[in-house]
């Protein structure tokens, strides 16, 4: 055992002597290197982001928000049996209702 250990120790000793001056490295270089990369939070204020160039005008905004909300055509129409004018379906004809109410007033 001891004979083998000796055989290993001998070349090691030779290596250390050959390295020579590297044995005395400055302490500062041995410390971990800090690159100081700034995080995203640090530079956020100086970054330019994509923003609208102009305020959206009143017209543009109203057009956009009223899109698809136009008044619908009244298609459910028919003729009044009492006077023949066009009226909305399921509703009494305003002309006839007015006349009926007037006739009541006259009778009273």
């Amino acid at each position: 055992m001891s004979a083998r250990m000796l055989s290993v120790a001998a070349p090691l000793r030779a290596l250390s002597s050959s390295l020579g001056p590297w044995r005395i490295l400055p302490a500062a270089l041995l410390q971990p290197i800090s690159l100081q990369i700034p995080s995203l939070a640090d530079i956020w204020d100086s970054v330019l982001r994509a923003v609208p160039k102009k305020k959206t005008s009143h017209m543009k905004k109203r057009h956009r928000q009223m899109a698809g909300k136009a008044l619908k055509d009244v298609k459910s129409l028919n003729t009044c049996p009492g006077c023949g004018s066009i009226k909305r379906a399921h509703l009494l004809c305003p002309h006839c209702v007015k006349e009926i109410k007037q006739s009541w007033k006259q009778a009273a």
Binding site: P81, G82, H90, L91, L92, P94, I100, S103
Partner: protein, 206 residues
């Protein structure tokens, strides 16, 4: 009502306010035979009015007391309910009132002012709400009766002795339980045609 559909319309009012509104409407209905209001209010008033007429037809001391609690003019309306209206609806099995949709009013109406006050009148807000006429069926102010009379009169004027199917249906509805319904309808039609001839005569003179 939170969670699920309510059993009645709340009409955006608290209970006491709604109760007062319905009592007012039903008082006006029995007083005037026909009222014009929003469709939702008309439907709610219809419920109450039909129940009250049922009370009238029961004609007991208990029902009379219950009716007295509802009206704002009890001494004017309760005798009418237990007299005239009870007789009118004696043979009719329910359905004493009718709601007819009409065009919402779209003209300015104004708040009333005391006489002599000549400052400009305040316009009432007009909200285009769905309107309706609520009427007592077979009464003197039955709009469907009057409309049917007009329809028949017009069709006869055009030379059709038998009115169209829908008008025939309405004639049936209007005359079925009305006392001397057919004769009354004929009278109304005659009156209309006389009025029309009169109107034409005036136009010619001009």
């Amino acid at each position: 009502m939170a969670g699920g559909a309510g059993k009645y319309r709340h009409l955006s009012r608290k209970s006491s306010h709604r109760q007062a509104l319905l009592r007012n409407l039903v008082t006006s209905l029995f007083e005037n035979e026909s009222i014009t209001t929003t469709w939702a209010k008309a439907k709610e008033t219809q419920r109450l009015a039909d129940k009250l007429i049922t009370l009238g037809k029961k004609n007991t001391e208990a029902s009379r007391r219950r009716a007295l609690e509802i009206f704002y003019k009890p001494h004017q309306i309760v005798p009418k309910l237990f007299g005239e209206l009870r007789e009118r609806y004696a043979t009719r099995p329910g359905g004493y009132t009718r709601v007819l949709r009409i065009e919402p009013r779209n003209q300015f109406e104004f708040y009333k002012k005391p006489r002599g006050d000549k400052s400009p009148r305040d316009p009432k807000p007009v909200d285009q709400a769905e309107s309706a006429i609520l009427e007592l069926v077979d009464g003197p102010k039955d709009v469907r009766f009057a409309m049917t009379a007009r329809a028949v009169a017009r069709q006869r004027e055009k030379g059709l002795q038998t009115p169209n199917q829908l008008t025939m249906l309405n004639v049936g509805k209007v005359t079925r339980f009305r006392k001397d319904g057919v004769e009354e309808l004929e009278d109304a039609i005659k009156e209309l045609s006389i009025k029309k001839e009169h109107g034409r005569g005036n136009e010619v003179e001009r």
